[in-house]
Every structure is written in structure tokens, then in C-alpha cells.
């Protein structure tokens, strides 16, 4: 399969490809394949009932619902943040720019306990929200908060470089032709950013559905109400229901792969359009 097309004078092809492929297979591909093979222990009907029981369906709803809500919320907020960071200068811009990556670097468990203590009823925000009837910690809103935090960098970091490359001439031309600033932004700038916003959204969504560490602390883990699918996998493992845990894992893997493929296609198109 991996045959070199042109002879190259640069050495190390065999070594680098060989090592990369072996390592990839041993660490990633083989174990993932094991997951799929393990589900073969179940018959088709067993598999189906394992991945569509009431509790499991409720967990999909919580996981995908909260992930979607968080990624959707991150779309305008991330766009706004990217815009402000690229286009304006203000005191603290560099600090904010650096902080955007915090959710990448901060361990999820730390994010989990910190958000929980902020939003639980005796926390700083929880205290303010309780009188107006909003409970965040141990409700689906809490899951949304955690997933918004986790997904925050994705839209910003995919939009930022595109915005930087965007040529001011187009905007100037639009302005010269009599468009107001808002019209220019809506008709000229935003359409150009859409593919990157979409990529950022999908990345944030894909990350959110698999998230575990930050969510378990804040969600309350109530079956049917605030139980996410990754936690359900762990619960099944703890109950020794390996095959069922694996079946759930397979469902999540398939969805993740589909999302990844979608991102690749969007990015492929984007690159072709930009001609790079």
C-alpha cells in the first residue's frame, strides 16, 4: 500500500513510515479494532437492545443535546471572540488570546470541580441564580456549562487564522460600492468565515460528546436525566457488563468517526476553494 511515488533523495522514508505505522497500529488501531470485535460476542438483537434501552436512549439525549447546545452557543461567542482578537486592539488582548487555550491545557477534572463549586447552590454563581429559580449544578444546564467550557477554544482557533488571512481589499471594495459596515460584515465577511465556523462547531461538538472528566462532577449523574453516555459505559464496566459497555462504545465511535469524516470533507473543500 504505502509505496513511494517518486524516488526521493531524502533518506528515512522506510524508517519514519515504518515506525509511524507500527506505533499507530499498536497504540490506536489494534485496540480500537478490539472494541468492534468484542461486540461480536453479542447477537444482533442483543446488541440492538443494549444500545437502545430506555436508559441508554436517555443518555444519548442528554449527551447529544447538551453537546449540541454547547457547540451552538460557542459558535457566535467564538466568532465574536476571534473577531475581537484579530481586529481590535485593547488592553489585555494578548492575555485573553493566550487564555482561550485554557480548556485545552487545564485537566478536565480540575475544570469539573471548579465549575461545580461555582454553580452549586452555595457557590458564587449558584447563589445568584437560585433565587431566580435557575439551578445549574446537577442539572442538564450544568452539563451544558461544562461542555461550553471544553468547546470554547475550537471555534476561536479555527476562525482566527482565516480571519487573519481575509484580505481587507474585499471589505474596502464592498464599502466603496456603498455597502454599510454591517452589510459588509453580513454579506461579505461572514460567508467567507462560515466553513471555518462550521469546522470549529463540529470539532467542539465531537469533543463534547466524548467528554467525561468535567461533566461527572457537575452533572449529578442521575439516570434518565443527567447521565451522559461515557459515564454509562463506565457504569456498565463496573457492573461487569463488558459486552454492553463495548456496544455503547462502538455506537459512540461510529458517530465520532462520522463527525471526523465530515470535518475532513469540509476542510478539503475549504482548502480547494482557497487554492492551497
Amino acid at each position: 500500500m504505502m509505496r513511494i511515488k517518486k524516488r526521493s533523495v531524502i533518506p528515512g522514508f522506510g524508517l519514519s513510515v515504518g515506525f509511524a505505522l507500527t506505533y499507530l497500529s499498536v497504540i490506536i488501531l489494534l485496540p480500537l479494532a478490539a472494541t468492534f470485535i468484542k461486540t461480536a460476542d453479542l447477537s444482533w438483537t442483543q446488541f440492538w437492545s443494549a444500545v437502545t434501552s430506555d436508559r441508554v436512549l436517555a443518555s444519548y439525549k442528554v449527551t447529544f443535546g447538551a453537546s449540541l447546545a454547547a457547540a451552538l452557543f460557542n459558535m457566535p461567542c467564538g466568532l465574536m471572540l476571534a473577531w475581537v482578537l484579530v481586529r481590535y486592539d485593547f488592553v489585555g488582548r494578548r492575555v485573553v488570546d493566550a487564555l482561550v487555550d485554557l480548556p485545552f491545557a487545564l485537566p478536565t477534572a480540575v475544570a469539573g470541580i471548579s465549575l461545580t463549586s461555582l454553580y452549586s447552590t452555595n457557590g458564587l454563581f449558584g447563589k445568584l441564580l437560585e433565587p431566580i429559580g435557575i439551578k445549574v449544578a446537577y442539572t442538564p444546564i450544568g452539563i451544558w456549562v461544562a461542555l461550553t467550557f471544553i468547546g470554547l477554544p475550537f471555534v476561536v482557533r479555527t476562525v482566527q487564522p482565516v480571519l487573519q488571512e481575509l484580505e481587507p481589499e474585499i471589505e474596502e471594495a464592498s464599502a466603496t460600492l456603498g455597502a454599510s459596515r454591517l452589510q459588509t460584515i453580513r454579506r461579505v465577511v461572514l460567508p467567507g468565515l462560515m466553513p471555518s465556523v462550521l469546522t470549529g462547531f463540529t470539532l467542539a461538538f465531537a469533543r463534547a460528546i466524548g467528554e467525561y472528566g468535567s461533566v461527572v462532577f457537575i452533572s449529578g449523574n442521575m439516570p434518565m436525566r443527567t447521565e451522559i453516555t461515557p459515564l454509562l459505559i463506565i457504569t456498565k464496566l463496573e457492573q461487569y457488563e463488558y459486552a454492553e459497555a463495548t456496544a455503547l462504545a462502538v455506537v459512540m465511535l461510529v458517530i465520532s468517526f462520522a463527525l471526523l469524516l465530515f470535518i475532513q470533507i469540509v476542510q478539503g473543500r475549504l482548502q480547494r476553494r482557497l487554492g492551497t
Binding site: 533523495v9 531524502i10 461567542c77 485593547f90 489585555g92 487564555l99 467550557f149 465520532s256
Partner: protein, 302 residues
């Protein structure tokens, strides 16, 4: 936080800039919105870690690290990072070298496969190794017979960590090395340098900052991984408990202050990572500017 505002676009000419400048009210609105979003979702959680950690004063804060279990957790986390990060660094270098210096069939597939672990839930990353090496797994009985421990022991924790942090170095290096092309390497080779010399003297200096950032990000994630490690660890205090798991245990024991104290250690690591990233970006920009300047000068002298 917002003081003076001016547009950043470095376009010459005052009138040109004005035409694509946003109205003042919009600028204020967007900056205000962005800053409140950042304050609400990033700065507050960060602040809480430190205020909770120091709630009972410095002596209580330091006491959290005197505990033998906390020390063992820190040691284990360091050990795991020391094994996992270099492995992924070597892989990142090999993969980036293969992908950016050669054309071969299956290259795009390889590139996509590197991203795979990003899309996989950490819980599943732990689960796959339990399926392979757990006592009920494929090789479990054989491992038991030969008295090799992987799950509930350090090797399992290392494997899960390697899985989760797998793409970081490669993802940093591939775009960087792609943009640099292979002309410099070709020149060096033509001048008679060996492959290893070329790599060390030409490629490495070019990518050192990118590599450095990939490594520190990989390290931050390796030390902070929770979900995957939680599945394979067995949670034995002082033995298979990493720092993030120790944070969870303390939290579940209502020892909130100690939990945040240990968490603050990881938070400092995260902040350090961000600072280093900013530094690397600054270095990178400087080197690009320098290269540009050199090019213009050469062009002008011709």
C-alpha cells in the same frame, strides 16, 4: 480591562482604514461581549481554583502536598509523563517527517488516522485496553500466567495516556514542516551531509519551537488526563493514583480544600503551558519577520 481601542489591521493610509473600521458602538459591544464571555467561562473557574485552595491559609495549602498519597500521586504522574511524552514525540517526528518529506500512497489516510484519538472519548480510550489486557480480556489469561500486570498498574496508565495524547506533537509539526518544504534538506544532502546530519542541523533548528510547543502541550495533557486513566487505574492510593485521580478522591472525601490545593498544581502547569505557547508564537513571528527582512534585502540588492 478594555482601555484604548484601535484597530489592529496594519493597512497603510488613514482613509483606507476608516472604510473597513467598525463603528465605535459595535466595537465596544463586541469587546464587552467577548470579555464577559471570557470572564464568565475562563477567568472565574480559574480564580475559584486558587481561592478554594487557599481558603484555609498557606499552611493548610502546603499540608495538602505533605501527604504521602499526594506525593506518590505526583511521582506517578511525573513517571507517566516521562514515558508517554517522549514516545509521542518520537512518533510525531517520524510521522511528520514521512508525511511532509515524501509523497506516497495512503498519505492522506495516515494524516486522518493521526487525528483519530481526538475524536475518541477518553473513556473509550481506557476501555479498549481493558478489553485487551484485563483479566477477562483477550490476552488477560496469558498475562496473568506470566505475571505481567498492565491493567491496574503503571503500564496501563501509560498506555491510556499515550492514546489520549497521541496526536499532539504530530499535529504541531505537520503544518509547520509542510510550510517549510524540503528544499533546505535537499540542499544539505546535495552538499554531502548524511541523513542524520541533515535532520539534526537543518530540520531540527527549523522546527524546534513547534516541537517544543507540541511537547509541552502533550505533557500538559498527559499529566492532566482523567477519564482514560480512571478506567484503567484501579484507584489504589499511593500506587496507581495519578494527580487528577487524587483530586477526585480528595473531592469525594469532602476534603474540598486539599482537593483544590492539588488541583492548583495542575492549574499552574496549564497556565505555564499557555505562557510557553505565547512565547513560542512570539519567537516564531520574530523568525518569520527576520526571514522576510532577509528576503527583501536580498531582493533589493539584486
Amino acid at each position: 480591562m478594555a482601555g484604548t481601542i484601535s484597530t489592529l489591521t496594519h493597512v497603510a493610509g488613514h482613509s483606507r482604514r476608516r472604510s473597513i473600521e467598525d463603528p465605535r458602538w459595535l466595537r465596544w459591544l463586541l469587546i464587552g461581549g467577548a470579555l464577559s464571555f471570557v470572564a464568565l467561562f475562563l477567568i472565574m473557574p480559574l480564580a475559584v481554583v486558587f481561592t478554594e485552595a487557599l481558603r484555609k491559609g498557606w499552611s493548610a495549602y502546603l499540608a495538602a502536598f505533605q501527604e504521602p498519597d499526594a506525593r506518590a500521586a505526583i511521582k506517578l504522574t511525573l513517571l507517566v509523563a516521562v514515558i508517554a511524552v517522549p514516545l509521542n514525540m518520537v512518533f510525531g517526528l517520524a510521522a511528520a517527517w514521512a508525511i511532509t518529506k515524501f509523497d506516497f500512497r495512503g498519505k492522506t489516510v495516515l494524516t486522518s488516522l493521526i487525528d483519530l484519538p481526538f475524536a475518541v472519548s477518553p473513556v473509550i480510550a481506557g476501555l479498549v485496553y481493558v478489553l485487551l489486557f484485563g483479566a477477562q480480556g483477550w490476552w488477560g489469561p496469558w498475562l496473568m500466567e506470566h505475571d505481567i500486570k498492565i491493567i491496574f498498574a503503571v503500564p496501563g496508565i501509560v498506555l491510556a495516556t499515550v492514546f489520549v495524547t497521541f496526536p499532539f506533537v504530530a499535529r504541531e509539526l505537520i503544518p509547520l514542516m509542510q510550510s517549510q518544504g524540503k528544499n533546505e534538506e535537499l540542499a544539505a544532502l546535495t552538499l554531502g551531509a548524511s541523513g542524520w546530519q541533515t535532520f539534526r542541523r537543518v530540520t531540527l533548528p527549523n522546527i524546534k519551537w513547534g516541537l517544543f510547543y507540541g511537547v509541552i502541550l502533550c505533557n500538559a495533557r498527559a499529566m492532566g488526563e482523567f477519564g482514560a486513566v480512571s478506567v484503567v487505574s484501579g484507584h489504589v492510593r499511593g500506587l496507581t493514583n495519578t494527580v487528577p485521580l487524587h483530586v477526585e478522591i480528595l473531592y469525594n472525601e469532602y476534603n474540598i480544600q486539599a482537593s483544590f490545593a492539588v488541583a492548583s498544581l495542575l492549574t499552574v502547569l496549564a497556565l505555564l503551558t499557555l505562557v510557553l505557547k505565547a512565547f513560542v508564537e512570539w519567537r516564531h513571528q520574530k523568525s518569520v519577520q527576520k526571514a522576510d527582512a532577509v528576503e527583501t534585502r536580498q531582493f533589493a540588492s539584486k
